[in-house]
Structure formats: structure tokens, C-alpha cells
């Protein structure tokens, strides 16, 4: 490693690292980066098929494992949503579905998509793959723990899916699992189903804690030389902040789940007041169902941002790379991510405006909730301002980004309806809510996932995904999903409540039948369109165009690995040294329209680069 630091003025030397123009000092002075603090990490290299691909300690393999398993559960969630839409749109064709089935599918679809699909995919999948590469580490700091994390997730998914086969079936309490109904007869799966759900969640949280510790410590303590926090790509910032939220929010879910399990199994009365059921007073008494809701949403609201923040981060990078322009207002973006993350712990009860909690909470939570809208709006402005005067490649990745902006702006703005306590009163528990959160934390993050898949597939597999197929995939998904959820808001305006197995005997919702049929058809098409991606991936793995090094001319570290796809240990002999932020695109005076993070200042001396 080039330890050619003459002056040992320490931090002084690093902070006064003026780049370009200044002309003070020799070349080596300009390029000086503080020596390494941390000794080289020893890695366990697998030598058999099992240690290399199954019980593997390489974060990249674990990331892919997470990605595949999360996608698998996601597909199950998708199929469940088809069944639900079949019932809602064409009840006569769904004769095999009872109300029990419907509620079980609703519950499992919700839980799978939010926790086992989106959270696992963003943090487990993208987090594992990208964090070590993007911060210039050889691997996650605790590879063994990381492996255990994935296998806990595996077992959690197993337990979750096992609940389909127990007597009574999976729980049908809605993904919020509100007691008392979750553990009382009259709700499907109130015995074994809810028990397995709680066990699965506990396993997930345990596994996630192991993974989350890894992501945090890798970002905090294992960055490469020159990589300051403010030089990290926003992807890492998003995943990092989301992980902090997860570490602090999942405990509330764990506690709530544990207490409900005790109520269910031992007959304690944490959440159970005196209850009259089928003419008999149950053994419970004195508990408070609202407490569970507070615990759940103390977890649940940060959970929304656990899904959203990585999406924010990733989309910023994709937009920046593909419009050949730095992300506009990087610092603002970082502070917005951190600010949103911090505030997300103070807004939880906006999910509970009509839950019967202390009515005065409405003032507090409406205010904090609308405050969050400000940093979020700033992020949106910065995304579109990044496009402004860029040099936009309208490839598939960019299309997904644009799709994200449209759906996110739409879904974010309907959030202003629901966050504002008065407006929430008529709209809560209606289809408006369904449409809002699917738009903002279903479709928008999905757009990001897809964009990220098209963007990083050349890195992971070394080949480009097919553009034409990708465009079909995008337009079918985007237009289809938009036409599912945009009209759905208006069902909420009529007053159609959510979680209704059927609703057509109300006179004033008769007009909704046609819309429901339309939405269902669109949902079938969108779901089926995802097959294009699977086909595309299989095709590409066989005959895709080889990508080579840095195919998108990006700046961040994951593209400068010596081999593509990167090997275990990522960097070969030497760790990279970082000299700049990852957004030096189209710098005036530079030969190319990008300068990678590892390019020392002495190589681009005549450029006018922002000091970062």
C-alpha cells in the first residue's frame, strides 16, 4: 500500500487535503490518506460446496441467499394477493374461498410482504451484498454471525410457511395481529397459527439482530482508508439508517409478540380485558388491547422507513449514475435520511387516530407526522433536481427510477391525507389506506428493487440483463400497478372499508364492482409480468452480453473490484483507498464523465472538484 506520507501531521493532513487548483505541495502530499487503523481481516474461505455456497460466510453469497429466499416468500405473497383479488373482483369464480381463507391470505400477504420480503430483501439482500463492497471492506465484520443470521431467517420463513399446514391454518388476524381477536376464536388460526407467527417473528428478529449488528459495525468501524461517512454512497446511508431503526424498533415487536404469546398460551392478561365470548366470561381481565397497538406501531412505523430508507438511498445512486450527474444536495440527502429515521420514532400513533387512544395524542402525532413530510419532500425535490441539466440515459434502470418518482410522489402525498388527523378520520380503515401504503411502500420500493436488480446484475453475474425484455417488464409493471392503486384511492372516498370479504350488498358501493373487476385484472397482469424478469435472468445467465468492469461508468467502490463478479475478500491484494465522494460525474476538466472514488487527486489535477 502506498504509505508515502511524508508529513505526519495526522488528521490535519487529511482535512487539509485540498484537491486541485490549490497546487500546494507535491503530488504525494495531495494524495495523502491516513494509514490504516484496523489490521487486515482474517477470512474463512470455504473449500467445499457446502461451506462455499450453503453455510457460507461470504457476505455476497449471503446477500444472494437472502435475496433468493426473500423473493421466494415474496412470490408466495404475490400468489396470495392474486387469490384475494380473485375474491374481490370475481367472487363467483372464487367459490372455493371462505371468509376464513380470505382473512388468512390477507394476513399472510401483509406480513410476508412487509417483513419477510421487503425488509429481508433490502437489508439482508442488498445490505449484505453492497455494504462491504461500497465501504471498501473485505467482508462483514462478523462473517460467522452473518451466516447464522441468514439461517435464522431461513428457519423463520420455514416456521411461517409451516403455519399453512397446522390445524386451523395460519393466523387471520390481519398483519397488525391486534389482540384480543388475534388469539380468540372467531378469528382464523387463533391457536396454532398465531403461535407460529409469533415464533417466526421472534426468530426473524433474532436473526435480523445478528445481521443488523454486522451492517452497523461494518459501516461504523470497517471502512477503508479515506472513506468518511460523508463519502459513503447514499445506498449505504439508507441501509445503515434503516438498520439502526430496525435494531431499535424490532424490540417493541418482540416484546409485543412475546406478551401476546403468553396471553395465548399461559392465559396471562396483558392485552386482554374482561371478555364475553359466546355467552361466557373468559378468564381474562384488566388488560389493555391498546397497549399492543402502541407496541406494534412503535415498531410498525419505523418499519415503514426500514423499507423506505434503503429505497431512498438506492434510488439516489441509480438516478445519479444514469443521469451522469452528481446527486443534488448530497448533504441535505444524508441529513434527510437521518432526520426521517430519527423522527420515525415519534410518529407511531398516527396509525391509531381512531383506535380509541387518548384523543389528545392526535395533536402531537399529527404535528410530528407532518414535520416528517418536509425532509421527505426535500428528497423528492433533490431527485428531480438531479435530473435537471443531467445527461439522462433512458435505459431500463432509469425507467424504474422515474417510475419510482411518480409512484412515490403519489403515495407520499396521500400520506399527507392520512397523517393529518382530521382527514384521517373519514379515510382510515378504508381502501384509501390500502392504496396509499401499497403505492408508497409496496410499489415504490418495488420499483427500486427492480431498478437495483437491473443496475447491479452486471456486477453480481457479470452480464447485462436484456433491455427489451426489461422495458416490457417495466411498462407492464408500472402502468399496471399504477392503475391498480390510483383508482383504489377513490374506493376509499366512497367509504368502502378494508378487510371486507365481500361488500356488494351496500347500496352505495354497488358502483365499486366494476372498479374491483378492473383492479383485479390489472393485478393479475402485473403479477404475471414478473415472470418476464425471471425469464430475463435465466436467459441472461445463459447468453447475456458480458458486462466487464464498471459497465455503467459508475464511481462507487463496488465497481472497481479486481474481478467481476467480486471474489471472496472483494479486493484482491490491496484494499482500495478513497479520495472523493461517489458522485463526481461530469466534472469540468475531466477526460471522462466520471471519476471513481479511488482516483487520486493527482490524476485529475486540472479538474474543479467539490471538496468532500
Amino acid at each position: 500500500m502506498s504509505d508515502e506520507y511524508e508529513n505526519k501531521t495526522g488528521y490535519q493532513a487529511q482535512s487539509s487535503e485540498t484537491i486541485g487548483g490549490g497546487g500546494s505541495g507535491t503530488v504525494s502530499d495531495v494524495d495523502h490518506v491516513r494509514p490504516a487503523e484496523i489490521p487486515e481481516q482474517d477470512l474463512y474461505h470455504g473449500h467445499s460446496f457446502i461451506t462455499k455456497w450453503i453455510f457460507c460466510q461470504d457476505a455476497k453469497v449471503i446477500g444472494v441467499q437472502y435475496f433468493l429466499l426473500a423473493t421466494f416468500t415474496g412470490i408466495i405473497g404475490l400468489i396470495l394477493s392474486w387469490l384475494m383479488r380473485l375474491q374481490l373482483g370475481f367472487p363467483e369464480a372464487a367459490g372455493f374461498m371462505t371468509a376464513e381463507h380470505y382473512y388468512q391470505f390477507v394476513t399472510m400477504h401483509g406480513m410476508i410482504m412487509v417483513v419477510y420480503f421487503l425488509t429481508a430483501l433490502f437489508l439482508g439482500g442488498f445490505g449484505n451484498y453492497l455494504i462491504p463492497l461500497m465501504v471498501g471492506a473485505r467482508d462483514m465484520v462478523f462473517p460467522y454471525l452473518n451466516m447464522v443470521s441468514f439461517w435464522s431467517f431461513f428457519v423463520a420463513v420455514g416456521v411461517l410457511l409451516a403455519s399453512f399446514f397446522v390445524p386451523g391454518g395460519p393466523t387471520g388476524a390481519g398483519w397488525t395481529l391486534y389482540p384480543p381477536q388475534a388469539i380468540l376464536e372467531g378469528t382464523p388460526g387463533s391457536g396454532m397459527g398465531i403461535l407460529l407467527m409469533c415464533i417466526s417473528l421472534v426468530l426473524f428478529v433474532a436473526g435480523f439482530t445478528m445481521g443488523g449488528l454486522n451492517y452497523l459495525i461494518t459501516v461504523l468501524q470497517a471502512r477503508t482508508r479515506g472513506m468518511t461517512l460523508m463519502r459513503m454512497p447514499l445506498t449505504v446511508w439508507g441501509i445503515f439508517t434503516a438498520t439502526i431503526l430496525a435494531m431499535l424498533a424490532f424490540p417493541a415487536l418482540l416484546v409485543g409478540g412475546l406478551m401476546m404469546t403468553l396471553d395465548n398460551v399461559l392465559g396471562t392478561s396483558f392485552f386482554m380485558p374482561t371478555i364475553l365470548k359466546a355467552g361466557e366470561v373468559l378468564e381474562y381481565g384488566g388488560g389493555s388491547p391498546i397497549l399492543f397497538q402502541h407496541l406494534f406501531w412503535f415498531f410498525g412505523h419505523p418499519e415503514v422507513y426500514i423499507v423506505a430508507l434503503p429505497a431512498f438511498g438506492i434510488i439516489s445512486d441509480l438516478i445519479s449514475v444514469h443521469s451522469r450527474k452528481n446527486i443534488f444536495g448530497y448533504r441535505m440527502m444524508v441529513w434527510a435520511i437521518v432526520g426521517i429515521g430519527g423522527l420515525s420514532f415519534f410518529v407511531w400513533a398516527h396509525h391509531m387516530y381512531v383506535s380509541g387512544m387518548n384523543p389528545w395524542f392526535g395533536f402531537f402525532f399529527a404535528t410530528t407526522t407532518l414535520i416528517i413530510a418536509v425532509p421527505t419532500a426535500m428528497k423528492v425535490y433533490n431527485w428531480v433536481l438531479t435530473l435537471w441539466r443531467g445527461n439522462i440515459r433512458l435505459n431500463v434502470v432509469m425507467l424504474w427510477c422515474l417510475g419510482f418518482i411518480v409512484t412515490f410522489v403519489n403515495g407520499g402525498l396521500t400520506g399527507l391525507f392520512l397523517g393529518n388527523v382530521t382527514v384521517d378520520v373519514p379515510l382510515s380503515d378504508t381502501y384509501f389506506v390500502i392504496a396509499h401504503f401499497h403505492m408508497v411502500m409496496g410499489i415504490a420500493p418495488l420499483m427500486v428493487i427492480m431498478g437495483a436488480v437491473y443496475h447491479w446484475f452486471p456486477l453480481v453475474a457479470g452480464r447485462f440483463l436484456d433491455e427489451t425484455l426489461g422495458k416490457w417488464h417495466f411498462w407492464l409493471t408500472f402502468l399496471g400497478a399504477y392503475s391498480i392503486y390510483f383508482p383504489m384511492h377513490y374506493l376509499g372516498f366512497i367509504g368502502v372499508p378494508r378487510r371486507y370479504f365481500e361488500m356488494y350488498d351496500s347500496p352505495y358501493v354497488a358502483s365499486a364492482v366494476g372498479m374491483n373487476e378492473f383492479i383485479s385484472i390489472a393485478a393479475f397482469i402485473v403479477g404475471a409480468a414478473q415472470l418476464i424478469l425471471i425469464f430475463n435472468i435465466i436467459k441472461t445467465l445463459k447468453i447475456g452480453k458480458p458486462a466487464g468492469h464498471n459497465p455503467w461508468q459508475a464511481n462507487s467502490l463496488e465497481w472497481v473490484t479486481p474481478s467481476v463478479p467480486p471474489e471472496h475478500g472483494n479486493w484482491g491484494e490491496k484494499l482500495p483507498v478513497v479520495h472523493r465522494w461517489p458522485y463526481d460525474f461530469s466534472v469540468p476538466g475531466a477526460k471522462e464523465d466520471f471519476i471513481t472514488q479511488t482516483t487520486p487527486p493527482s490524476e485529475v489535477i486540472e479538474t474543479e472538484v467539490e471538496k468532500t
Partner: protein
């Protein structure tokens, strides 16, 4: 610990140092071992678990209309013809603080590479923890004998039994896990794994006395939680 020495890095004190550390490359917590940083973040997460338990307890106790039993009487021990309030709990607190003290010293001697002393102190800590768990088991059996169950409570509100068994059970689980690790670490210390830098069972990291401090953090945290449980559950 005092500031470590890092080549090419000048430490600034106080809040300036905080900004400097946060803005620097490579690490944010200067000189802090990965495992130690991990333990701190884990404890932060665990703090949220215990906070949620205690907040639920507060909400549960506050919103029941049936009288909460007086812990001072429920947990009294009958010694020598008089009821001494909270005697057992006082002894348990004493034991746990003692073990916390021995743990703190073990960390100190560990860093001073005093293997024998360190090992014996860890062992003492483990025995303290074991005593604590044993006394807790005694307390549980006493209450169960008196008819307190997670689902019912002859002295008043149902939730008393529920929260008592859940919170102390969860804390006791933490203590028990700690005790197991203390015995393992005592063994490793006596064997000299930390002097030789022998790799652990599941990690590629080399053994180092910092591991004692990491375990120490966990153990002090268990003590810390007990301070809160003692105040809120037994005294309030």
C-alpha cells in the same frame, strides 16, 4: 479507557473530538474493538427490549382498577419471627452488585495481562451470577407456593403475576446466559487463550483480553437492568 494511540490521528477532546471522530475515515469509534462496538449496539437494542417491558408494565399497572399488591409485603421474608420486607431482594441486589464489581476488576486485570487474577475474578463473577439465579428460583417457588401464577394472583391485580414472571424471567434468562459465558471465559482465561491469541470456536478473530471487557459490558448491563427492575417493580 483513555484515548488510544492511532498513527496519523490527533485526538481532540470533548465535543470537538466527537465531530472529528464522526467525520473521520475508517472508524467512528476510534480504537474501539469491533466486538466491543457490536456489544454496545446490541445492548442498545436490548435496552429497548427492557424498556418496552417496563413501559408495558407501567401501562398495565397504571390502567388496572384492581389494587396492585404491595411488593414490600409480597416479597417479605419471615425471619426470626418478624417479616423483613424485601430481604431476599436486597440480598439479590447485593450479590449482583458484588459480581458486577468483581467483573469490573476482572476486566482491569485482564488488560494488565494478569491471567490468574483475571480468571479467578471471572469465576467469582460467575458464582455470584449463579447465586443470583438460585435465589431467583427460590423467590419464584415461594411466590408460586403462595398461589401467584402468571394468570392469577391472590393478592390483587392479575397483571402482577404476569409482569413479575415475565420481566424477572427475561432478566433471569439474561443472567443465566451470562453465567454460561462467564464459565466459558474463565476456562479460556485460565487456558491462556487470550494471551496466545487463540482463535475462538466460531470466529476467525484472534483471542484478546478485550473479549473480557465485552463480556463485562454485558454483565454490567444485566446489573443495570436489575437496578431498574428493583426500583420499578419492588420499590415503587
Amino acid at each position: 479507557m483513555s484515548d488510544p494511540k492511532i498513527e496519523g490521528y490527533e485526538f481532540k477532546p470533548g465535543f470537538k473530538g466527537m465531530a472529528q471522530d464522526t467525520g473521520s475515515d475508517q472508524t467512528m469509534f476510534k480504537g474501539v474493538h469491533w466486538g466491543k462496538a457490536m456489544m454496545w449496539i446490541f445492548l442498545l437494542s436490548d435496552t429497548f427490549i427492557f424498556s418496552c417491558f417496563l413501559i408495558s408494565y407501567m401501562k398495565g399497572r397504571g390502567s388496572t382498577l384492581i389494587d396492585w399488591p404491595n411488593p414490600s409485603e409480597v416479597f417479605a421474608l419471615h425471619v426470626g419471627g418478624v417479616d423483613v420486607p424485601l430481604l431476599l431482594i436486597a440480598i439479590m441486589t447485593f450479590v449482583l452488585i458484588t459480581s458486577s464489581g468483581t467483573m469490573a476488576l476482572a476486566v482491569k486485570y485482564g488488560y494488565e495481562k494478569n491471567r490468574k487474577m483475571c480468571g479467578w475474578l471471572i469465576l467469582a463473577t460467575a458464582i455470584g451470577g449463579l447465586t443470583f439465579v438460585g435465589m431467583q428460583a427460590f423467590e419464584w417457588s415461594k411466590l408460586i407456593h403462595e398461589g401467584v401464577r402468571p394468570w392469577e394472583n391472590p393478592f390483587g391485580a392479575k397483571q402482577f403475576g404476569s409482569f413479575f414472571f415475565m420481566i424477572t424471567g427475561f432478566h433471569g434468562t439474561h443472567v443465566s446466559i451470562g453465567v454460561i459465558f462467564l464459565f466459558i471465559y474463565a476456562y479460556k482465561t485460565f487456558k491462556g487463550h487470550y494471551d496466545e491469541g487463540k482463535r475462538g470456536w466460531f470466529t476467525t478473530m484472534k483471542g484478546n483480553y478485550v473479549e473480557i471487557e465485552i463480556l463485562g459490558l454485558y454483565w454490567h448491563f444485566v446489573d443495570l437492568v436489575w437496578v431498574f427492575i428493583f426500583a420499578f417493580f419492588y420499590l415503587w
